[in-house]
């Protein structure tokens, strides 16, 4: 049904640092098929940069499933261990709704946009 050999676009783009803050934009629909790749990419970013703040812009993520949420939880826990924080910005309604059902909307720091996250 699906072509598992089809080329897969980058999930993380616009990666940049501003001091000890790392910002990145996640793009695309994230499900069990590509969430492992998102996990590997984010683990690499955290390991390389040890950020005090990791700001993930989810404005280009129209859909996420529980496996993607689990990746975000893992990043949150990794960052906490090194004294860092995870900020999620520009959440689309469908993603925000899933975080609320998972009771994670009060555990993640959810900011309106990147500027809001940087100002906190």
């Amino acid at each position: 049904m699906a072509d598992r050999n089809a080329p897969q676009p980058d999930l993380l783009t616009n990666l940049r640092t501003e001091g000890d803050v790392v910002l990145a934009t996640v793009r695309g629909e994230i499900d069990l098929h590509n969430s492992p790749r998102m996990r590997t990419t984010l683990l690499d970013v955290v390991a390389r940069t040890s950020p005090k703040k990791l700001v993930l812009n989810l404005g280009l993520v129209p859909y996420m499933d529980s496996s993607a949420i689990a990746v975000l939880v893992e990043m949150l826990q990794k960052l906490r261990k090194i004294g860092g924080k995870l900020y999620l910005t520009d959440l689309q309604p469908r993603v925000k709704g899933l975080l609320e059902i998972a009771r994670l909307d009060s555990i993640f720091v959810i900011a309106k946009d990147e500027a809001d996250a940087l100002a906190r």
Binding site: M1, A2, H33, D65, V73, I101, I107
Partner: protein, 142 residues
């Protein structure tokens, strides 16, 4: 809208247990629900639930195997044609996932969110043990 568009014919989708099939299967059910007149919000919920159910089959019933069969069915039922019935059939381990989730789920402990979504987003949801696997039956009212 013509009445025929609100009660599309039942569909039966047979896919392999490859995660690459999650998105097309989800979109097929979303399109079916749209054609049946469900709201965008309901369509989104149905799509997520079907995704979670299939993902659970792949991970738990088939332990990650990518070449096992999964059958997804959808139909419109009810006197008012306002019930969308979805079935997810597998020929795997036969474990009922609903028995694995603790009553109080810690949001920071992975696992179980798919089942929580099914319970919250569907009007009916139950696992029916099969001699050779499992059948998940769900229903969402318009």
């Amino acid at each position: 809208m013509p009445k025929t568009l609100l009660k599309p014919d039942p569909i039966r989708l047979r896919i392999e247990s490859d995660t690459a099939n999650l998105k097309p299967a989800r979109q097929t059910i979303e399109d079916y629900a749209l054609n049946a007149g469900y709201s965008r919000e309901d369509v989104d919920e149905l799509g997520l639930v079907v995704n979670e159910a299939i993902a659970n089959v792949i991970r738990h019933a088939y332990a990650g195997a990518t070449d096992r069969p999964i059958e997804v069915t959808a139909s419109i039922e009810g006197d008012q044609s306002d019930e969308l019935h979805v079935g997810i059939r597998d020929w795997g381990s036969g474990v009922d996932p609903s028995c694995l989730i603790p009553k109080e789920k810690d949001p920071l402990v992975p696992g179980g969110l798919g089942l929580i979504c099914m319970e919250k987003m569907m009007d009916e949801c139950h696992f029916v043990s099969q001699p050779d696997g499992m059948l998940l039956k769900m229903m969402k009212r318009k």
